[in-house]
Amino acid sequence: MPELAAASTEPRDIDGWLAALRGVGYHAPRALATAVFLAMRLQRPLLLEGEPGVGKTELAKALARVLQRPLLRLQCYDGMEQREALYEWNHTAQLLHMRAAQNSATPEQIEREVYQERYLIRRPLLQALQTPPPGAVLLIDEVDRADEPFEAFLLEYLGEYQVSIPELGTIAAMAPPLTLLTSNRTRDLNDAVKRRCLYQWLDHPDRERELAIVRSQVPQASAALTEQIARFVERLRAQPFANAFQRAPGIAESVEWAKALVALDTLVLDPEVIQDTAGILFKQREDVAALLPMIDQLLEPDVA
């Protein structure tokens, strides 16, 4: 049933996905489109890992636009618990109800009334399960920031698309939400979580893809400037330069940089403007310092 409802917006094959994602401004490599296609068809969650700024979160936004489904986002953090992720009872309302009904109802009646759905505060996971077909796109962002007990709590959801609430019973998905998990690998995720998911490692894009992304995100930049940006950033990430930095800039940084250069009315990259805007590419003092002596080398035209 959900398949029928979604048929109008869901691309039918890998090429369709590539085109549809490009249509909303996300230039996916083919392997990623394949993983998305499989995640939709097999109804499995998709785990995205990769360096910060390679477009993990953006993919979820793009998918929500392609599928025209609501995007629900659960940002994970250390110590996150069920009541922030799944549901919480509205205790204040329950208490008020209890007080009001104290004189007119029996304790059993009160108890029945107090644990009703209207006293339930729905958090993203529950919202995703209760979104009517075609379902939602659920982004569980930076799972690695939550702790291990939280992963264990996710297992039931990821495997069966259902959750158990003691007072209400099991709540199954009306339509399986397309679920994306992202991780920056600040720690390894549990194997039990991983085996329930499809896995995709996102790498920094090659020059062509970077060029396409910057072009579509910052259309105001001139073609020559865009090309220079793509080449400069690609070289930064490649040997022998990459070793000098603690963290190479991601796509998000190159797009930001392109925007900044446009704002500064730059037509051609030169050492001075790079020096002035290095803080957009690198967020560590040591990295900015390491960049300065290399700028001339990085700006040299291609040898090949």
Binding site: T34, E49, Q102, R187, D188, Y199
Partner: protein, 390 residues
């Protein structure tokens, strides 16, 4: 030829064999994943090789470190379905162009088991290979630690000490909460359940307190020449004494060795055997700065949110550049909770950390403890406990 196979129903067998080969190469693949891979193949089809590879990778791989081995095995499996023939041609010296034999040892081994019969048919070659392997391992043995398994008495000693001398590993109130009397917040769910029983009166609302969690521990053990005598029992003891604490362990000499896989073993002997195989610079020099740089570049995620306790066990006789050591320690200090330095070289009371490496370490470490004689494990254990308490 592959297409023909697929239509006559051989594809599931092939995928299963591929999955099993991956498992032999150390990629965690279970039967559920293989089943998933088969249905993924049916969905994607076999028209494009790169699609098939991406689809299988999405289902079968779940760690970045497996991507490379997957690629190599995929290339081997789906290039030439007659695996045995290919393996055979690879082993024959006259056909070196069949495929660059630069595969990972793991992938090669996984393939070799699959084609064991092929190996048997080429006895001449296998003799040669064996020969080469022996030379290599002889060479390596010179450099490897000679960690014997623990003798029965040593084992008892390690066990007893780990049990008796409880290392006071520090704990912090975490963000998670549990019902408890000392908390500041009211446990509303439980309060309401109680109120239900008392006609809606909140008599003594139960509270939630913060749950305590142990701080993650990062153990860096010097295995250079000057620390040779201590390394083995030290590793065994720390491995046993820090059970149940989130921990990672590295050995360093001239380079950094990741011991986390070894430390996952519950058994001390198994841990020592794995550590033995992993450490290739035993009893060599010390380049602490370079080792710490490697830690920063490749394993920085062991340092969890500035909570990690770093336990550095070294004599501080560093042969690397003091500037590098200084910079790396400065970085380490900023990314962990405490750097504790246990120095076994301090054999007399008037010791001053004058050696270059030692003075740098002394400046950066939050705590330092001198131990006069580390040979007795008991003293070591007590010293550690003392250091952690300070």
């Amino acid at each position: 030829m592959q297409l023909g196979d697929a239509r006559s129903g051989k594809l599931p067998d092939q995928i299963t064999a591929f999955g099993r080969a991956l498992r032999r190469a150390g990629v965690p693949v279970d039967s559920a994943r293989i089943a998933g891979a088969i249905s993924a193949t049916q969905l994607v089809g076999l028209e494009r090789r790169d699609d098939l590879q991406a689809a299988l990778a999405a289902v079968l791989v779940s760690r970045p470190q497996d991507i490379e081995v997957f690629g190599e095995l995929f290339a081997a499996f789906f290039r030439n379905p007659e695996l045995e023939k290919q393996l055979l041609s690879q082993m024959l010296p006259k056909a070196p162009t069949a495929q660059p034999p630069a595969r990972k040892a793991r992938a090669q081994e996984a393939l070799t088991v699959a084609g064991a019969s092929a190996q048997r048919r080429a006895p001449g070659e296998s003799e040669l290979r064996l020969d080469a392997a022996m030379t290599a391992s002889d060479l390596r043995r010179l450099r490897h630690a000679d960690f014997a398994g623990l003798s029965a008495s040593e084992f008892r000693l390690v066990e007893t000490l780990a049990r008796d001398i409880a290392l006071p590993l520090p704990e912090l109130p975490g963000r998670r909460q549990r019902p408890g009397p000392r908390g500041h917040r009211i446990h509303w769910g439980r309060a309401l359940q109680q109120a239900r029983r008392h006609e809606g009166e909140l008599l003594a609302p139960p509270r939630r307190e913060r749950r305590h969690q142990p701080l993650p521990l990062l153990v860096l053990v010097d295995v250079s020449g000057s620390m040779e005598r201590y390394a083995r029992l030290l590793l065994a003891f720390l491995h046993q004494a820090t059970r149940g604490v989130p921990r990672s362990a590295f050995a360093f000499g001239t380079r950094l060795t990741d011991l986390r896989a070894a430390w996952k073993q519950a058994d001390a002997d198994a841990m020592l055997a794995l550590a033995n195989a992993a450490i290739a610079d035993f009893a060599g020099g010390t380049r602490l700065g370079a080792s710490l740089a490697e830690l920063r570049e490749r394993h920085a995620r062991c340092l969890v949110g500035r909570r990690t306790m770093v336990l550095l066990i070294s004599d501080g006789l560093d042969t690397g550049a003091p500037e590098q050591l200084d910079a790396e320690l400065h970085w380490l200090r900023r990314h962990c909770r405490q750097v504790l330095w246990l120095n076994p070289l301090l054999r007399y009371a008037g010791y001053q950390p004058l050696a270059q490496g030692a003075s740098v370490l002394h400046r950066h470490a939050h705590g330092m403890l001198a131990v006069h004689n580390l040979e007795h494990l008991q003293q070591l254990a007590q010293a550690l406990a003392e250091l952690l308490k300070s």
